[in-house]
C-alpha cells in the first residue's frame, strides 16, 4: 500500500509534485475511481493487468504518448521509489526541463524559494548550502527541516541553535516541531511532548504535531504509553481524514495495534485493524517508530 508508505514520504511527495503528473485509477470498471481511458493505456503497456484477477499493480511512468519508461513495485521502500523516480528523470532529460516559473524562481526567488526548489529536484546538498548562507531565522528552521528529513540530527541541532531565543512568530511553530522531532529522535519523549503537546487544532501543522506526540507516547515503553499513542493517532485520523499525515498515522497505528514486530512486511490477514479501513498488505515497518 503505497499511501501508507512512500506516498506519505515528504521527499517522494515533493519529487512527484514537482516533476510528474500523477494519476491513480481503479482497474475495475465498477470502482469509484474507474477510468476507461487510463485502463486502456495501462493494459496496452502491461497486458497482465487486463485480466480478471491481477497481482498488486506496480507504479508506472509513462509518456503522454503511451510509452512505458519505468515501473516500480507497489512494495518498494521510500528510498527505492525516490531513486527510481530520479533515475527515470535523469535518463529522459527531455521530461525534466524547468518550466517558466521555475526558471524565474531559480534566478530571482528568495533563498527559501530557491532552497525548496533545489530540494524538490533532489539537490539536497545545494539546498542546505544556500540556507546556511542566510542569516534569517526562517532559513535556519528550513535547514533544520531538511537535515531532519536526512536524519542528520547534529545538523538539526546546529540549525536550531541559530534561532534560539529569537524565533519570529511566523516560524515559531515550525521551530517547535523540529525541536520535538529532535527530542523524539534522541529518546526524550517528555521533551518532545512538552514542545507540542498542547497545540490546538487551529495550530499550523497540528496534524504532524499530533503524529509526533503519538510517537513520543509510544516511546515511553509502557502499556499506558502504547494505549495513549493509539488514542492520539486514532483521534488524528478521525479529525483530519484529508491530511498528509493521516496515512502516516494509520501506518503507525496499524503496526502497533497488530503487535507486528516490524521485521519485514506485514499484513492484517483480513482483519480490519486500520482506522482508515485498509486491508491486507499494511506496508513495511514504519521508519518513524525507530527514528534516531
Amino acid at each position: 500500500m503505497l499511501r501508507a508508505g512512500p506516498f506519505s514520504d515528504e521527499r517522494v511527495i515533493r519529487t512527484i509534485n514537482r516533476r510528474f503528473v500523477p494519476l491513480y485509477f481503479d482497474l475495475s470498471p465498477a470502482g469509484a475511481a474507474a477510468d476507461g481511458l487510463a485502463r486502456q493505456l495501462v493494459v496496452k503497456v502491461k497486458p497482465a493487468l487486463g485480466g480478471p484477477a491481477v497481482e498488486t499493480p506496480p507504479l508506472l511512468v509513462v509518456t503522454p504518448g503511451g510509452a512505458l519508461l519505468s515501473e516500480t513495485s507497489n512494495y518498494a521502500s521510500e528510498d527505492e521509489l525516490l531513486s527510481a523516480l530520479r533515475a527515470v528523470l535523469k535518463s529522459h532529460p527531455e521530461w525534466n526541463e524547468p518550466g517558466e516559473e521555475e526558471r524565474k524562481l531559480a534566478t530571482s526567488g528568495t533563498p527559501i524559494e530557491r532552497a525548496n526548489l533545489l530540494f524538490d529536484l533532489g539537490d539536497e546538498a545545494a539546498a542546505r548550502t544556500l540556507l546556511k548562507e542566510s542569516s534569517d531565522a526562517d532559513a535556519a528552521v528550513l535547514l533544520a527541516h531538511f537535515c531532519r528529513l536526512a536524519r542528520d540530527w547534529e545538523g538539526v541541532e546546529q540549525a536550531l541553535a541559530r534561532v534560539k531565543g529569537a524565533v519570529p512568530a511566523g516560524v515559531e511553530r515550525d521551530a517547535q516541531l523540529e525541536r520535538a522531532w529532535l527530542a523524539y529522535a534522541r529518546r526524550d519523549a517528555a521533551g518532545a511532548i512538552a514542545e507540542i503537546g498542547k497545540w490546538t487544532k487551529e495550530s499550523p501543522r497540528y496534524s504532524e504535531a499530533r503524529y509526533v506526540v503519538g510517537l513520543a507516547q509510544l516511546r515511553r515503553d509502557s502499556r499506558r504509553g502504547k494505549l495513549e499513542a493509539l488514542a492520539t493517532w486514532k483521534a488524528l485520523i478521525d479529525c483530519c481524514s484529508q491530511d498528509p499525515w493521516v496515512y502516516r498515522a494509520d501506518w503507525a497505528y496499524t503496526q502497533v495495534a497488530s503487535g507486528s514486530d516490524g521485521h519485514g512486511d506485514f499484513s492484517t490477514g483480513g482483519e480490519r485493524i486500520s482506522p482508515l479501513g485498509r486491508i491486507g498488505y499494511m506496508g513495511r515497518r514504519n521508519p518513524d517508530l525507530d527514528l534516531r
Partner: protein, 59 residues
C-alpha cells in the same frame, strides 16, 4: 514545509467522487492528466489500483 504541498480541494463530477488529497497533487481523470503532461512536458506517473476505490477518495 508540507503546507506548500497541500492542494486545493478537488472533486470529480461523475458521482461526486473525491480525489485523494493527502499530499500528492493527483490529476484525474486520465484525459486531464494527459493534457497536462503534454502542456507541461511532464511524465505521467500512473498507479493502477486492483483492490477497490471509494467515493470518499480512499483506496
Amino acid at each position: 514545509m508540507l503546507d506548500h504541498l497541500l492542494l486545493a480541494f478537488a472533486c470529480l463530477a461523475p458521482g461526486e467522487t473525491k480525489v485523494d488529497q493527502t499530499g500528492i497533487r493527483w490529476a484525474l481523470p486520465f484525459k486531464e492528466a494527459q493534457k497536462r503532461s503534454l502542456r507541461e512536458k511532464r511524465l505521467l506517473l500512473i498507479k493502477p489500483i486492483a483492490f477497490g476505490t471509494e467515493k470518499s477518495g480512499g483506496w
